[in-house]
Symmetry: C2
Subunit: 141 residues, 2 copies
């Protein structure tokens, strides 16, 4: 087996609202393979998928009941502390809500968090110890 | 800005228990950059991070209260329907619980789901329309 994941799916209440958040906050473009009922973002070898929250629970054969902290956070790393603030500002302009402004982190970088329109956590971070390659990817071995 | 994410962090109750699940179910190896209090898996350009659930909430400045369906699922795609069943069996042998056995999906592939020791959903899927390249990655444009 290979050490990879293929898709992370966020269950959302309103597909278009969520897609506009990720397009606006992060400058992403949805995949042409997006379809009625599911929107994909190609992330360089894997996929973020937006799908109806109830549909996701039904597909997994679990109850859709749930509230509060999901216990999961997505993180988008950027090239500088100033970029952390800029991306968080964009997030709040596109339907997000900043729950932690960018600040110096104990681990030595800078980080802040927005929630997306459904409350999913999106961290924006600058980590000087994890340099991003020319494709924006990180390889920590 | 680039179209990518850098890290997906799962908040967990017991770091070692969770790490053993992902090592056993999926055959992964933890990154040498893992530290006291955080375990990383390098996924070919990005990272799955295991971190204390309360620590994650505190880091994001949100309440750790929450229960039930998280509204998020990870998916690991494999090369055949038989592999779906094999990986789900491994998941259940390593602390997971299969909530949906592998079966043909409406979208034309095969899929099943396990939960990890904290209830995070892990889908195992074969999608013949998304061929995996030699690194196991998918590019949907």
């Amino acid at each position: 087996m290979e050490q990879r994941l293929t898709v992370v799916t966020l269950g959302v209440a309103d597909l278009e609202r969520s897609a506009r958040f990720y397009e606006g906050a992060l400058g992403w473009r949805r995949s042409p393979q997006s379809q009625e009922g599911v929107i994909f973002f190609s992330l360089g070898g894997w996929v973020l998928s937006l799908f109806g929250r109830k549909d996701l629970a039904a597909d997994a054969h679990v109850s859709a009941d749930g509230s509060g902290f999901s216990g999961i956070a997505l993180a988008h790393n950027v090239g500088s502390p100033a970029e952390v603030d800029a991306v968080l500002a964009q997030a709040s302009q596109h339907g997000g809500r900043v729950v932690k402004a960018g600040e110096q982190a104990l681990w030595g970088g800078d980080s802040g968090y927005s929630v997306d329109p459904d409350g999913h956590l999106l961290e924006v971070a600058h980590n000087p110890f994890w340099p991003l390659d020319e494709r924006g990817q990180v390889d920590i071995g």
